[in-house]
Amino acid sequence: MPQHIKRLIGVFAVFILFFLVLQQVLKPDSFGELGHFRAKAIYENSLRPMHYTVADSCTKCHKDIRIDKDLGFHIKLKCEVCHGPALAHSLYAGNFKDKELPDSLTLYKPGERKDCAICHELNAARIKIQFDTLNTTMVHQIDVLTHHPFDPKTKVPFKCIECHNPHQP
């Protein structure tokens, strides 16, 4: 074997060794256990905080409203669709019976016209035909501008919830 090849082999061996050591030092732990990524990242991803709870958790304290809702057209709507994320509320509001709720636990009460319009405003894209015979979905639509906009006598603008109970419309 020529002399220069031998030297080259030596140099390469040193380089490769150096690289392997560097790789061991720089590689984060748990990398490569399940694939080309840090296996710990899966666990870290599961640690994020929650904000929404589950539909049934309101029933414990607001049974009457749940019963009302389940008898009406809004049966499929979850409470959090209208009231917003309520995990903290459903965990801690029990301590404030017959007291003012602190700001962090009060929930949004969507009483404005635009809150209902988000689902009920007239729009050609909303479904009007029954496609699915198993589960019917069609949302009744109204023209928010002309559907009882204000009191005919006093001319005061109406809110939807003055005529419709939001929990049992």
Binding site: P28, F31, L34, G35, H36, F37, R38, A41, I42, E44, N45, S46, L47, R48, P49, M50, H51, Y52, V54, A55, K76, L77, K78, E80, V81, G84, P85, K114, A117, I118, C119, E121, L122, N123, A124, A125, R126, I127, F131, D132, L134, N135, T137, V139
Partner: protein, 256 residues
């Protein structure tokens, strides 16, 4: 060039030729042809859960509550350019023009795009990460900061991401963005933190018309398998062969 190396005897030519041809034939035989139904039934070689998503366009009323819930649950910036999940309104007019709009991802509701007399058809398409089984986005990551879990969920390793934006470019569905504060990429995790507690992802939890269905494709009795059996479902951009696991019922060919 040296004459000796370029001259090839007839025997040598056949020898190397046969070896090469045989090698190519062997290599192609060992490739598995793509089976479109593979990902709808079970994970390639995986046991346990294999999550899939179904969206029924016929049921979506475009309230945008899913997009809103997603932002709150996952602390996505409120600015109208960052979305993990959003809703688009498609309007196809009588003259063939296609209007697509998504004002603030649909969070503030939609306005009808054209007068009713001009509209041939119109519908809402909720969009989110397809959690592809052969994700183009995970393949391009230079550092291994994004990956598919055994359950078929595509996740991002925030600690390890270098913010190079390759995956943002690679995703054919536009489901990734760079988080303005963290500087790393962010995407739908199918609410992995809720899944691990046995709950539904926030957008599925909140949907008022049950247009979103989610479940385990490996479980023959799951909601998603019932949905797939009873509807003619389609994925977006099937020609890209991404192994997408987001199945739409009543998907129009205009949707892209």
């Amino acid at each position: 060039m040296n004459d000796e190396t370029t001259k090839l005897s007839r025997r040598d030519f056949f020898k190397t030729g046969t070896v090469l041809a045989g090698g190519v034939a062997l290599a192609t035989a060992s490739l598995i042809p793509y089976d479109g139904l593979l990902f709808a039934s079970e994970a390639p070689g995986a046991k346990g859960k294999w999550y899939g998503i179904g969206i029924d366009i016929n049921k979506c009323i475009g309230c945008g509550k899913c997009a809103n819930a997603c932002k709150i649950e996952n602390n996505v910036p409120r600015d109208p350019f960052y979305f993990r999940s959003w809703v688009e309104q498609y309007t196809i007019k009588n003259d063939g023009a296609i209007l697509v709009e998504s004002p603030n991802g649909g969070i503030d509701g939609f306005k009808q795009a054209a007068p009713t007399a001009d509209i041939y058809k119109s519908f809402f398409v909720p969009k989110m990460c397809n959690h592809c089984a052969k994700s183009p986005c995970t393949q391009v990551c230079p550092v291994g900061a994004t990956f598919e879990t055994e359950e078929g969920i595509v996740l991002v390793d925030e600690e390890y991401c270098i913010g190079c934006r390759y995956c943002v470019q690679a995703c054919p569905y536009g489901c990734r963005y760079i988080h303005p504060e963290k500087g790393t990429v962010d995407k739908c995790t199918l609410c992995f933190h809720r899944l691990k507690k046995g709950l539904q992802p926030a957008c599925f939890e909140i949907c008022p018309t049950e247009a979103r269905i989610f479940g385990d494709l490996n479980d023959p009795h799951s909601k998603i398998n019932y949905f797939l059996k009873n509807h003619t479902c389609m994925v977006v951009k099937p020609h890209l062969n991404t192994g997408s696991k987001l199945f739409y019922n009543a998907l129009s060919p205009e949707v892209r």
